[in-house]
């Protein structure tokens, strides 16, 4: 069985197909002209272009960060095409006008866009390469005053809202990748939940990279007005390619008084093959701001894909009594590397944060948890609870934990727990002795390990997450 534990027979990535569709792409390279072109293609107002150019000029002076615990070759930012859109009508009035090939693509991914086929209670914005191709259930949502559309459309249709909040959580010059995103972002989702409205559907965005030599730079902005609630889910996948593709997204969440945002991610970008060829570089900045009193933002992520993951979804707890949560499962198999965690910045009084991180490493995967909990001077009686658990499968992988704690108010209460465990032969043998196969045993042990996170996911997605985990660890234990 020892050989079995080390055997690495990863099942082929299920979503690795390519859609043969004509696309309108900008030639590789990045310059002010390219940014002007993108802005023009999207029919943006002048202020938006100015914002992009400001970000670009600052980005030029910034250096790619290399403090994370991952290694990769240099990224040639001039070799990437920053805009690729499937050729179709500029604006689509209904699904009938969407290219059938696109509908078929999402169907294959398990995301049928026809509304009657959708999971009950989920509205989807589908983003293909650089553009949003369809947003479902818009009318149902509109009845409650909920706005859910692509960010490009929001910039044109709701410029005041976008101008107020875009960059208010992740400034255009926040970091190297966020600045790059601010300069070139092409699409993404926008949601606004009005005062006192409990969003009647789960909102969801599905991101698909299709074209080669492109990057995906989406930008998502969600604003929950006072007393509102929204649950949002993000999913993604990409074809199998030998090249590394860059995904540098920015997500901003804003919760006003008593508002609540629950943001769940199932990240399944192509992870590369067992030798480490290809795969997505997932360099993402996600941050939420609990601006109002009693507001709450929860991040739940299940990260099974990408060659390299660099992301720290965090919360700025500005409003008094606001709450931030981070629940994460990150899996690295084969040659995958992940450096992920969260930042909880406590500004307001009686703010609370919870961090539950589960890292699973198999094969030669390297999994790092990196988290910052910062309690500022004015944040009296702030509380944080952190729990970081790592699980190792086999003996060639690694788990690393870097918790940073910075407390400037003596009334704070901090708790930190950490554990590292190994799926041992004894555990698997025990399950086998009860009649379970090795695969069922591993899946059971891993799912049990992740349970605290899975229970935070909306029901359908918890099932999806468990399944995905099974696939991404398949063959890692015999």
């Amino acid at each position: 069985m020892t050989q079995g534990i080390e055997a690495q027979v990863l099942r082929p990535y299920k979503y690795g197909f390519v859609t043969d569709i004509e696309s309108d792409a900008v030639p590789p390279g990045l310059s002010e002209d390219v940014i002007r072109l993108i802005s023009q293609k999207k029919g943006e107002p002048a202020w938006m272009l100015e914002w992009r150019l400001r970000a670009f000029r600052q980005w030029l002076a910034m250096k790619e960060p290399h403090w994370s615990n991952v290694t990769y070759g240099p990224v040639d930012y001039q070799a990437i095409s920053y805009y690729s859109a499937p050729k179709q009508k500029a604006t689509v009035e209904s699904l009938d006008q969407v290219d059938p090939k696109l509908l078929e693509t999402f169907e294959k991914l398990g995301i049928p866009l026809a509304e009657q086929q959708r999971l009950a209670g989920v509205a989807v914005d589908a983003v293909f390469d650089s553009v949003s191709v369809a947003t479902t259930f818009r009318e149902t949502l509109a009845k409650q005053g909920v706005i859910f559309c692509s960010i490009s459309e929001a910039i044109r249709t709701y410029p005041e809202l976008v101008r107020t909040y875009l960059g208010s959580v992740v400034p255009h010059n926040d970091n190297f990748f966020a600045a790059l995103n601010s300069a070139v972002f092409t699409d993404g989702s926008f949601a606004y939940i009005p005062k006192g409205v409990r969003c009647p559907l789960e909102l969801s965005t599905y991101f698909r990279i299709n074209a080669s030599s492109t990057g995906q730079f989406e930008r998502t902005l969600i604003v929950a007005d006072a007393g509102s609630y929204v649950s949002y889910l993000e999913g993604c996948s990409a074809p199998m390619r030998d090249e590394n593709q860059l995904h540098a997204a920015v997500v901003e969440l804003v919760a006003l008084d008593d508002a609540q945002i629950k943001y769940s991610t199932i990240q399944n970008w192509y992870p590369g093959d067992e030798a480490g060829r290809g795969g997505i570089y997932n360099f993402v900045t996600k941050r939420g701001k609990c601006l109002g009193r009693n507001s709450k933002i929860s991040w739940t992520q299940v990260e099974t894909g990408s060659a390299i993951t660099w992301k720290y979804p965090g919360c700025i707890l500005q409003g008094d009594h606001s709450v931030g949560e981070f629940y994460s499962v990150a899996v690295t198999n084969n040659r995958q590397q992940a450096d992920t965690g969260t930042k909880m910045i406590h500004l307001g009084r009686n703010t609370r944060s919870t961090i539950v991180s589960k890292g699973i490493s198999a094969g030669r995967g390297q999994n790092t948890y990196r988290g910052l909990v910062k309690i500022l001077k004015g944040a009296s009686h702030a509380r944080n609870y952190s729990q970081c658990d790592s699980m190792l499968i086999g003996d060639q992988c690694g788990a690393h934990t870097f918790p940073y704690i910075d407390v400037r108010n003596s009334t704070a209460i901090m708790e930190h727990e950490a554990s590292t465990s190994k799926i041992g032969e004894d555990q698997i043998f025990y399950c086998k002795q009860r009649g379970l196969s090795a695969e069922d045993a591993v899946s059971m042990i891993v799912n049990g390990f992740c349970r605290e996170v899975f229970k935070e996911l909306p029901m359908e997605f918890a099932v999806e997450a468990q399944r995905l985990l099974g696939i991404s660890l398949e063959g890692s234990v015999g």
């Binding site: 399950c431 002795q433 009649g435 379970l436």
Partner: protein
């Protein structure tokens, strides 16, 4: 089936190149309880692990037939599904998986092998009620993670609960009695007696005589240095209790 349930012949096994079992011969028939006793390091637990197919042990010679099958040719999970159950000396914990879920998964794996329909959660809970009572528990244990935070005694009871649910043809109890207080010992022994049937058998590995006062064995075997050096009826256990093992070692050395 006419022959013995379990037939072990000339079994040799080693771990990390060290020979532990040096020629075990043993026959267990349906309806019987056999006690295996012996000093520390005599190979009792190794025998249990080898029968269950633990990968750390290598069989170097001999044969084992179980229900007319070549046991050694089966994978551990196949042995379990064929009706061999090992109550572990040190049961492992599985975090985040409830006892109820684990038991049902195990039972359904075994049922499937027997060609029976899997049980749904509701039917399963019904079937479980009596078994839980048998070991003196209430339902709260079913919602706890498998063995997580369980005391030594609770883990042993949990093994017996699994035994009661899976209803194997042969139960190998590896020092299930050690670490139990008197009341727990009575409950566990009572459950083992309760589960006896004409078509199943128990191999009771133990250090002490005390469980044998509750579970009357048909046969007692003494294991020393990897061999069965003496077999007898129940009285042998009493003799061991009085005289210890040294006299047997001397006898065996002659």
């Amino acid at each position: 089936m006419t022959g013995p349930l379990l037939q072990v012949r000339g079994l040799h096994a080693e771990v990390e190149g060290r020979e532990i079992l040096r020629g075990i011969d043993l026959e267990v028939r349906a309806g019987e309880v056999h006690a295996i006793m012996g000093p520390n390091g005599s190979g009792k637990s190794t025998l249990a692990q080898v029968l269950a197919g633990h990968p750390a042990y290598a069989v170097t010679a001999g044969s084992v037939r179980f229900r007319d099958q070549d046991l050694l040719a089966l994978k551990p999970e196949e042995r379990a599904r064929a009706g061999l159950f090992l109550a572990f000396q040190y049961p492992v914990a599985i975090r985040g998986i409830t006892n109820a879920y684990f038991l049902r998964a195990a039972l359904n794996a075994v049922r499937q092998a027997r060609g029976e329909e899997p049980l749904g959660p509701v039917e399963f809970m019904d079937a479980l009620a009596d078994k839980v009572k048998l070991i003196g528990w209430d339902d709260s244990y079913l919602q706890r993670s498998v063995n997580e935070g369980f005391s030594g005694g609770e883990k042993k009871r949990n093994e017996i609960l699994q035994l009661a649910v899976l209803e194997p043809a042969l139960a190998v109890l590896d020092e299930t009695d050690s670490g139990l207080d008197i009341d727990a010992l009575k409950t566990v022994a009572g459950a083992v007696v309760e589960l006896r049937r004409p078509d199943n058998a128990t191999l009771l590995i133990t250090h002490y005589h005390r469980i044998l006062a509750h579970v009357a064995p048909d046969w007692v075997h003494v294991l020393a240095a990897g061999r069965i050096v003496k077999s007898g009826r129940r009285e042998l256990a009493l003799e061991l209790e009085e005289r210890g093992y040294d006299w047997l070692r001397e006898e065996a050395a002659v």
